[in-house]
Symmetry: C2
Subunit: 118 residues, 2 copies
């Protein structure tokens, strides 16, 4: 069997309320990951595409965050309502959803202007 064609990691991290960096899944319900999992399953992509729970992906200011490999496209502020578009456009048709992409300048940048000042 082949490797995954695409592996979607959805941050399911929780932090305590009021944490300065926030977190991607404050209620711990994993709704976003479940929505991706369902969208993948509906298209019979099991074993081809995986919608995976992930711990903190460290781009918290932009959360809820999702990263798609192997191309390492980062999405921020992703909601359940965005899942169909990401799966249909990016996962199935190779066209990332530009409006949700986290700018490269923000990734892994302690001085990202979106980080709250302490």
């Amino acid at each position: 069997m082949p490797k995954f064609q695409r592996h979607i990691f959805i941050c399911c991290n929780q932090r305590e309320p009021g944490h300065p960096r926030g977190c991607c899944d404050p209620t711990g319900e994993g709704r976003l990951q479940k929505a991706f999992k369902k969208a993948v399953a509906q298209r019979s992509l099991k074993g081809v595409v995986r919608a995976n729970k992930a711990g903190c992906l460290d781009q918290c200011e932009h959360g809820p965050n999702v990263v798609v490999y192997p191309e390492q496209v980062w999405y921020g502020h992703v909601s359940v309502d965005d899942v169909e578009e990401i799966v249909e456009s990016h996962i199935l048709n190779g066209r990332p959803v530009d409006r949700l992409i986290i700018p490269d300048d923000c990734l892994n940048n302690p001085n990202c202007p979106h980080r709250r000042k302490k």
Copy 2:
């Protein structure tokens, strides 16, 4: 800031004792992920390489499992004792650790001979 040069996902999934597929982190202590995180931090690779908690990666029979992106190299039966070798050889020097690689034939294969028969 650049994207991650390498993103290591370490399965931290728990299942109930006796589950036929087993699980990668039965005690829930996350020792393997912590060992990777420490090895990355010791080399001052924060923001360059990330050792990430992951939910089930679905190669359970080969666990504990680790997958390294962007190249999607899959490692199985990884122990804390293997972490330095993976980081030094693969992450720093681009040479995957062959003895730990899960064979392609086993990946995402319901008929993988390593799966326990029900």
